[in-house]
Amino acid sequence: MVLWQWLQRVTAETVATAAGFQPSWRYVLTVLLLPTIIGLLLAGVLGLVEKIAGRRLNGGSL
């Protein structure tokens, strides 16, 4: 919930300017880091699930 509100705020900040859309460094950094961190976390979770299940899970290529 905290992360959600933070993401909403960072995005809203970029369009709350008189000049229209103005990307802040926080927004640009989040664009690059957010999916990377989620990808790494999910890799860890899936690895853990595989260890418990004792078999490899297959996903498709998105």
């Binding site: 995005t11 369009v15 990808g39 890799a43 498709g60």
Partner: protein, 335 residues
């Protein structure tokens, strides 16, 4: 219902100069207010993300080329934001695939970086075309108005979906008839592949990791440019162009092409996300929800692959054609 700040900003922008919406527009899973505020159903978004992931895991393809038009059609997200968001979540997919692939497969870093040099140009050209279409405003007829970007992207995506849908349909029909699906390109594609592979245009370079003795540098850059253009303009990974090109045009062994494609996917999605982010096309909350749900869905779908049948693949092609029809139908509604 949650509001999307960036998508709302672009809706306001696209309504400038027009009569504006006289009353709220309720779409499949969204509500567009007269002032341009776009509210979407979070549960529906999670459900669609899960479904896209499920289809991708089950059929082995379908993630981004369905997600972008569905974001526009079902949630009213302007195409520029749908493309930028879809591309950004691909960083997470590439990261996950890279970590899980680990030491398996080989990466030709030299080839990957050369491809990337062409992809950067392609992505930037694609992203700028999309920006140009977005800034071109809207067409107005009385109280009806249609953004130029909406019309143009419906045509481009319509062609892409029509092509992919027909390929899937034909392959399912071939398998249902008991024949093996084609593994190498034939007809025009085979001719083009051969011409590119034997192109005598200096400088030539060797790719020792891939076992390629000499190939024109321009061919590699062209392949990178082509897939990058699709990535920047449509938000798709470009793998469906890059993988056959690596194998049949450049002559890269399949095991190396898999790793190199993943390496290239990570680089292009990072650059594409940066480029689209700087242009205001990435809705961060959408990225978080879609990335989580599509990845979970793709692993659920992967577990169901043993139930794969040609009939289901034909139904998948039907879903793609249905999306195409709904997109064309939505054009007449305007915004």
């Amino acid at each position: 219902m949650v509001e999307l700040p960036l998508a709302s900003y672009w809706h306001r922008f696209l309504q400038v100069g027009g009569p504006g919406l006289p009353e709220p527009v309720a779409g499949w899973f969204y509500l567009l207010q007269p002032g341009g505020e776009l509210q979407i159903s979070l549960w529906a978004l999670a459900g669609v993300g899960l479904l896209v992931g499920l289809l991708t895991g089950f059929f082995g393809l379908g993630g981004s080329f369905l997600l972008t038009p569905w974001l526009n059609l079902l949630f009213g997200v302007p195409y520029n934001v749908a493309v930028g968001t879809d591309l950004t979540q691909m960083i997470g997919t590439a990261t996950l695939a890279g970590v899980r692939q680990g030491g398996r497969g080989y990466i030709d870093y030299r080839l990957g970086l050369l491809l990337f040099s062409g992809s950067i140009i392609g992505i930037e050209v694609g992203a700028r075309i999309l920006r140009g279409l977005t800034l071109a405003g809207s067409w107005h007829w009385g109280s009806w108005h249609l953004p130029v970007v909406q019309a143009a992207m419906t045509v481009v995506y319509g062609l892409l979906l029509g092509w992919i849908g027909s390929l899937i349909w034909r392959e399912a029909r071939t398998v249902a008839a008991g024949a093996a699906p084609a593994t190498a390109p034939g007809g025009l594609a085979a001719g083009v592949s051969h011409r590119l592979r034997t192109l005598q245009l200096r400088p030539f370079i060797a790719l020792p990791t891939s076992g390629v003795e000499a190939i024109s540098l321009w061919v590699i850059i062209l392949v990178g440019f082509g897939s990058g253009l699709l990535t920047g303009l449509l938000g798709v990974s470009g793998s469906f162009i890059r993988m056959p090109a690596l194998i049949y045009v450049l002559g890269v062994p399949t095991v190396v092409s898999l790793g190199t494609n993943l390496f290239e996917l990570f680089l292009t999605s990072c650059y594409g996300a940066l480029s689209h982010g700087l242009k205001g096309n990435v809705e961060l909350t959408l990225v978080a929800v879609l990335l989580l749900t599509t990845i979970v869905g793709s692993h659920l779908g992967g577990g169901l692959r043993r139930y794969h049948r040609p009939r289901l693949q034909q139904a998948f092609a039907g879903l793609i054609f249905l999306t195409l029809l709904l997109m064309v139908g939505a054009l007449s509604r305007g915004w």
